[in-house]
Symmetry: C2
Amino acid sequence: MITAPLSKIGVTGSIGMNIRPHIVIIGAGFGGLAAAMKLAGNDVRVTLIDRQNHHLFQPLLYQLATASVDASAIAWPVRALFRKHSNVDCLMGEITGIDTDRKCVLLKNDEVHFDQLIIATGNVPNYFGNAALEKHTLPLKKLEHALDIRNRVLGAFERCEHIDNSVGDENGINFVIVGGGPAGVETAGAVAELTRQALKQDFKNIDPKKTRIILIEAGERILAAFHPKLSDYSRKALEKMGVEIWCNRMVVDCDEYGLTIDDEYLPAESVIWAAGIVASPAAKWLGIETDRSGRIAVDDNLQIKGFNDIYAIGDLALVTGKNGQPLPGLAPVAKQQGKYVAKRILTGEKASAKPFKYFDGGIQATIGRDAAIIQYGRFRLTGRLAWWAWSMAHIYFLITVRSRLSMFSSWLWSCFTMQRHSRLIIGRGEN
Amino acid sequence: MITAPLSKIGVTGSIGMNIRPHIVIIGAGFGGLAAAMKLAGNDVRVTLIDRQNHHLFQPLLYQLATASVDASAIAWPVRALFRKHSNVDCLMGEITGIDTDRKCVLLKNDEVHFDQLIIATGNVPNYFGNAALEKHTLPLKKLEHALDIRNRVLGAFERCEHIDNSVGDENGINFVIVGGGPAGVETAGAVAELTRQALKQDFKNIDPKKTRIILIEAGERILAAFHPKLSDYSRKALEKMGVEIWCNRMVVDCDEYGLTIDDEYLPAESVIWAAGIVASPAAKWLGIETDRSGRIAVDDNLQIKGFNDIYAIGDLALVTGKNGQPLPGLAPVAKQQGKYVAKRILTGEKASAKPFKYFDGGIQATIGRDAAIIQYGRFRLTGRLAWWAWSMAHIYFLITVRSRLSMFSSWLWSCFTMQRHSRLIIGRGEN
C-alpha cells in the first residue's frame, strides 16, 4: 500500500561514513547465503537481495510436497539469519536489470549501487520450449510449488473418495514424475510412502494403494550421475515400494488430463516436472551469451569474463571440474563458490592467485525409509546405513537449531507412526 | 481431473447391509467434529462433509497469522482423526442445497442421502452489507486468511525496508484491527509482540517499533462479554504493549490505502476484520427465516423447527441460555451441542425428554505473554497465572498429541528466544 518515494540505497560515499566497499549479492540460495555469511562481520557492507523473504533448503522440498514437514522446517527468513550482523542488509525485491556502467542493480522501484556484485540466482525448470509442459506440469523449485503439489496429491484422493468403488479401474489415480535424477527419485519415493503407508487407512471408498506412481526417465537408467550398481539398487528399491520406472521414454506433450509419452497417451492426475533445469536468466541482465544450459562463462576466480567486480556462482556459473566436465548443480558446489568469492573479496589481490577448486564430498540420494545411496569416489553405500548417514547429514546442514529439532522430531514422528502430520489442503489464490 | 460418473453415496437399503441409520454431518468445526466423535464406533453410519480437508482450531488461528506456529499445529486432516472408525466416512465437498423431501444433501457432483442430518456450518464474517469492507479488509476465519495476514504484515516491513529512514514518518506502518472482541484483542496483542519483539533486530533501515497498531471498537469498551474490571485490565495491558485502543468509533468505509473511521481517514497497511460474524447461510438451503445474526430457531432438542431429523448446532443455532440471552458463539457451546445431538440420535426417544442445557465453563482471552483474563461466574483471574491457565487449557484442547507437542515446543521456543519461527512469505495465487 505504501508508495512513498524510494531511496537509492547504498550509494557509496553519499554519507561520509559509508566508505567501506559495498558487496551486493543477488540470490539467497546456498551460494549467495554462504557468501553473505562469510562476509558478515567483516569490514564491508553487504546487501543480500532475493525475490523471497526466505532461504529455502531445496534438497528437502519434496518432503513438504509430500506432507512430511512444515514449510518452516525447511525455509528461514533471510533477515533473521543476519540479525546479529549490522553490516548485512537484506532486501526482498525483484531484479529488473543491471547497469554495469553505473554499477547499479536495478529493482522495480529502487536501485542499489555496488562495488562488487555476486550473482547467485540459481536455476529454473527447463521445459525445452514446450509451453504445454510449462502450463500443465508441476515444478518443484519453490515453497509455493511444493504446496501446489501437496494440494494436488491430497485433493486427488479427496475427489476420488466420492467415486463409487465398484467403478473399478476408474478410481485409479496416476501420479507421474518426469525426470530420474535425485529430485525425481526422491519425490517418487516420498509419494509412494505417502500413498502406500500414510493414507492407507484413511479412505473408505478407495484404496490409495491402487495409485500408480510412474517415474519417467529419458535416459537409459535413473540416477545417471551415480555408479550403475547404485542406479540398479535404487530402481529395485523404488519398484519394491510400488513405483513403476519407465526408462528410455520421452515426454513429448501434456494437457490437463494427462501426458503423451513417445506416442502413448497416459491419463494422469498430476505430472511433476523434475526433468531438467536451466540457469536463471541472469545473463540477460548483462547482455551476454550463455551455454545451452544458460550458464555464464567465468574465469578461474569465478569472475564473469569481460566484467570486473562481477562474479557468478552456483548453478549459474559454468566451471570445469577435474574430470573436464562442468561442475554439477549441487548445493556443496554453490556453497564452496560463495565462500571462495567472499574470501577473495575480503583478501583482495592476495587470493587471486589461487583459482577456485571444488572439494568433492561425494553425492547421495534417498529413495525412502531405510533406503538411500551414497557415492564418494570409489566408495559406495546403500541401505539403512546410507539412509541414516543421509538423514544425519541433512539435519546437520539445516541452517538453524530450531529447524534441526523440528525436522528431527517430524522424522521421528513419522518413523514411529507412519503418519504425515502436514496433510493440509490450503487453498491458493482464492478465499 | 477425474470426471467419472459419481455414485449416490449412502442410499439407505440400496445394498442389503446398509440398514444402519445414516447420519450426515455438515461442517467439521467444533460442533460437527464433537458429534462425529460421539457417533464413531456406534451402530450408525456417519458421513462428515466439509469444504476443507481439515478441522481448524480457530481460537489459535491468530497465532498462525502472526507467525508463531505452523498450520499443522492448529489444523488436522479430518479423515486422519477417524482413521480407526470404519463407520465414519469423510467427504470434502461444497454443499449446494438440501432436498428435504428426498432427504438428500446436494453437492456439486454428488448427493448424499441422510436419515438424520446435523448442520454445523458455523459462521462467516459480517460486513454489514458493505462491499468495500469485504474487499479491502482481511478476515480471520480460515487457514488461508491467516496466511494472507501473515504475508501482508511481513510483506509490509519488507517493502518499508527499501524506504530511506530519513523520510521519517513516511515509513510508519499502521495495522488496524477492527473489533474489540477476543479475536480482535488477541490478534492486536500478537501483532504487537511480533513487531515490538520478534522483528525488532531484523530491520536495519526501519524501526518496527514505530508501527502503529490500532484496535477499533464500536462499543464503549473492549471485551464487552467480560466484567468491566477485566476489560480495563486488558486495555491497560494492550496499551503497555503499544496498542492504541479507540472505543466508540465506527468504521464506515475502506479502500486500498486505508479506512474511514467516523469522519476521519486513516491510512493503513492492513485492516484485519474481526468486527462481526453472522451465521453461515445454511438457512437458505432449507428456505427458512433466521434472526438478524443469521441463526436458525431450534427446539429444546436442537431440532430445527418444522423439520424432523434435521438439527442445527453451534453458531448456526439460536439457543437461549439461562440468562434469557442467546448462547454465545463459543467452541464449548458447539461441542456440547454436538455431543448432545449425537447422544440423542443414539438413544432415540429416551433422550428427547431432556432438553439441551449449556454447562458454562467460563470465558477467557489472552492479551500477550504473561497477560490473560479468565472469568467464571464471579471468579476472575488476570496476569501471569491466567496466561498459564489459558495456555494449558488450549494445549489440552488441541486434538492430537502431535499438535500438543508441536504447539508446546513452539511456545516454549518463542518464550525463550522471543522469536517467531514461521515468518515465511509464501505467495498465494501465483508462482
